[in-house]
């Protein structure tokens, strides 16, 4: 089956078949990452620009490594979303980049919808969303699914708890779409100030009254990062109380299935949303997530590039 999408703007616009193709492609690329010479010629001659208008270390690093392992030329630019007044418009920035004829722009932006804005205005190159505002973070959800599939052998029928600040989380939204499309069930929990209205309409979602209801008998427990910078006094009384009611620890994790896995998109706030003992415990697959991130991003870059063969040899 051929991949029909020129851009990856979000999981919402992908089908179950698309997701499966991406995950299978990711699996095939993953093997390269264990080789001595971690490089294949798949995207030789292609130029990828990682345009990060919002601070990010690991996602940018992951995309950059993914591009390099496929032999693409990767260039990073960063900018600040907040410098709208003095800076040029996003459209001008993008058109300038496009004039240098890159093949793919990977964009991270603080404003929801920024990748869609670019995709509408760019003529030739593909746009890959590396996280836009509180909207979507498709590559994160895909690497999460890849990790779940690796550990659980399937995604269909899994009970997945997602806990934390759902309102501001693009990771939660993309995972809700992806998991629902693949036949898993999502349970959400978080402080009342962090559960947005109508979230249950995004997919196969149950909003739980508390953390314990969400993780009881879950196959996967995904803890979201509490964004310290976004945490204002109107949303949370204290991180201490957050840890007490919404933090995952060695006690409450026992409510999940015995073989449940614990995930986190990183970076973790140890002692806040996840205790150190759980973060370093055997159920934790957080580093697998990071490793799979490279593979799944290689898959995305390859699939949107329109290159015919993976050339993994």
């Amino acid at each position: 089956m051929a991949f029909q999408h020129k851009h990856i703007l979000g999981i919402e616009s992908l089908s179950r078949e698309d997701i499966e193709l991406i995950l299978n492609t990711g699996d095939a690329f993953k093997e390269i990452n264990g080789r001595d010479i971690k490089k294949v010629p798949t995207l030789r001659g292609k130029t990828i620009i990682n345009a990060f208008f919002e601070a990010s270390t690991r996602t940018r690093l992951s995309f950059e490594i993914a591009g390099k392992r496929l032999s693409a030329d990767t260039v990073n630019i960063s900018g600040s979303t907040s410098s709208v007044v003095k800076g040029e418009t996003l459209e001008d920035t993008a058109k300038n980049i496009e004039a240098m004829a890159p093949d793919i722009i990977v964009i991270r932006h603080g404003h929801s919808g920024a990748p869609h804005y670019l995709a509408e205005r760019l003529e030739t190159c593909s746009v890959v969303n590396a996280g836009d505002g509180a909207h979507e973070h498709p590559s994160q959800a895909l690497l999460d699914l890849m990790t779940m599939r690796e550990h659980k052998g399937r995604i269909e029928g899994l009970e997945v708890a997602i806990v934390g600040d759902i309102t501001h989380s693009r990771v939660a939204r993309s995972n809700i779409y992806a998991l629902s499309k693949m036949g898993a069930r999502v349970r959400l929990a978080g402080p009342g100030t962090m559960l947005p209205p109508g979230i249950e309409r995004l997919g196969n979602v149950e909003v739980c009254a508390n953390l314990l209801d969400a993780i009881k008998d879950a196959d996967v427990v995904m803890m979201l990062r509490i964004q310290l910078e976004r945490q204002s006094q109107t949303l949370l009384p204290s991180l201490r109380e957050y840890a007490r009611f919404y933090g995952l620890n060695t006690e409450n994790i026992k409510l999940a299935k015995e073989d449940a896995i614990v995930m986190h998109p990183g970076p973790m706030n140890r002692g806040v949303e996840i205790s150190t003992y759980v973060a370093d415990g055997i159920q934790n697959v957080i580093l697998d997530q990071v490793a799979n991130g490279v593979a799944v991003r290689m898959a995305l870059l390859y699939l949107v590039s329109g290159v015919e063969s993976m050339q993994t040899q």
Binding site: V84, T89, L90, E91, H109, H111, S112, G113, A114, H116, Y117, D132, G133, A134, H135, E136, T167, R170, R173, P196, P197, G198, I199, R201, L202
Partner: protein, 425 residues
């Protein structure tokens, strides 16, 4: 000035319960006669057979952007947009640069309108100096200079005592206080209606309670002070209900709704459409239906456009940082007529909402076709089908959410003080 005889049109003037096939004779800019089979051998004849003849339409909520923001709109282009939409009188909001908070600015607007304008312009004063919310504008002199109402539109008066004092002070001058009802602490950094669509798009929401809470406060202050309160651009079900109940109690309250709020919902934001970004935001279908109900049952007194021109550079950006507002003067009439086609309201009610409804809400001396009064008229072709093309709008700005919409009904001739100021061939 040559006399004019408008022949054979269906004359609808809700201010005098008039709906009949009649001729209208205009002399010296006034309505001289209104009756059957009028004759005048000197007069220019205008055949209105098969057309609707109404008092000139009135829009009490327009941003003309002049002085200071002429790159968006000026008095010339804004009033041209108005007459193209069938409006002969518009009231313009004070959030210009500088703010219309003293009579010098009011006189500038009126003089420029007399020179370069295409229709009547009624400036609205700011409630507080510089829209700061801190000290009262010179409302007495502003009233003298020609302001019928005062509003800090766009920057609601947050301090409740300030609003109380403004009402107390404005009342003896016979001024209407127009409220842009929003509790800004509840608006926060919201950019669209809070609901399933904002959740899905990952955009910060503005809850309905931000409007309802402010509407409730201002109604109570109007009841305390006896000042006439006009609530601008009602967008929520709760606000409509609060005003309905206030009117039942006899509170001195009127209100308006915009065509975009009775036509669209927050679904229009999908795709991060910045031409669907305005303040108050497009709400849910439930809210939209409540506004339609309010228009039908008399709770809502007027349709007003909140015509808010913005330059393309201010809209062609990410949704979060795009300016609030849409142009509305040239699409208001057909969108109101759509309510008639959809049987939400009847034709007489539609015309009332666009003529004497708004003029009475603000106490303006326009909105009817009484013999001896100013001859401001709009001739409307109810059957005319046309398609909105943003690029063809007369306004300097093209920020309409209705680009490409098929419309039925248009003003084909707009007459101000007996002179044709706009004619569609």
């Amino acid at each position: 000035m040559k006399a004019m005889l408008i022949r054979g049109g269906r004359v609808v003037d809700p201010s005098q319960n008039l709906d009949d096939i009649l001729d209208i004779l205009i002399q010296d800019g006034k309505v001289a006669k209104c009756g059957k089979q009028l004759k005048d051998s000197q007069a220019e004849i205008i055949d209105a057979k098969g057309k609707l003849v109404t008092p000139g339409l009135v829009d009490i909520h327009v941003h003309l952007r002049d002085p200071g923001l002429e790159y968006k709109e000026d008095i010339g282009s804004g009033t041209l947009s108005a007459v193209a939409g069938g409006f002969t009188s518009i009231a313009c909001m004070p959030n210009t640069k500088p703010v219309n908070d003293n009579h010098t600015i009011t006189r500038y607007i009126l003089e420029k309108a007399a020179k370069e304008g295409h229709c009547r312009v009624f400036p609205i004063a700011s409630i507080t100096k510089g829209l700061s919310g801190e000290s009262l504008s010179e409302l007495g002199e502003l009233r003298e200079a020609g302001c019928y109402g005062a509003s800090d539109d766009g920057k609601p008066v947050g301090n409740s005592e300030m609003m109380r004092r403004a009402m107390e002070y404005a009342r003896p001058f016979g001024m209407t206080i127009i409220s842009h009802a929003e509790d800004l602490s509840l608006v926060g950094s919201g950019v669209m209606n809070e609901g399933p669509v904002s959740t899905e798009l990952g955009l910060k929401g503005i809850p309905w309670v931000a409007e309802d809470a402010a509407t409730a406060r201002d109604i109570m202050l109007a009841e305390l002070t006896g000042c006439h309160l006009h609530v601008a651009h009602v967008s929520t079900k709760g606000s409509v209900e609060l005003i309905r109940q206030a009117k039942r109690r006899g509170a001195p309250v009127t209100c308006e709704a915009t065509p975009h709020h009775f036509t669209l919902t927050d679904e229009a934001v999908r795709g991060y459409n910045t031409n669907a970004k305005m303040n108050p935001p497009l709400r849910s279908e439930e809210d939209r239906l409540a506004i339609c109900q309010g228009l039908a049952d008399g709770t809502i007194d007027a349709i007003a456009t909140d015509h808010a021109p913005h330059h393309i550079d201010e809209k062609n950006v990410e949704f979060n940082i795009a300016m609030n507002g849409v142009v509305g003067l040239e699409t208001a009439l057909p969108l109101t007529l759509k309510l008639v086609q959809d049987r939400v309201i009847d034709l007489n009610r539609a015309i009332e909402l666009l003529t004497c409804g708004p003029s009475e809400a603000l106490g303006l001396p326009v909105g009817g076709l009484q013999v001896g009064g100013d001859a401001d008229l709009t001739i409307i072709d109810l059957d005319r089908k046309w398609t909105v093309a943003a690029s063809q709008l007369n306004s300097k700005s093209k920020n309409t959410p209705f680009d490409g919409w098929a419309m039925q009904g248009a003003a084909v001739c707009t007459i101000v003080a007996g002179e044709i100021v706009y004619k569609l061939d």
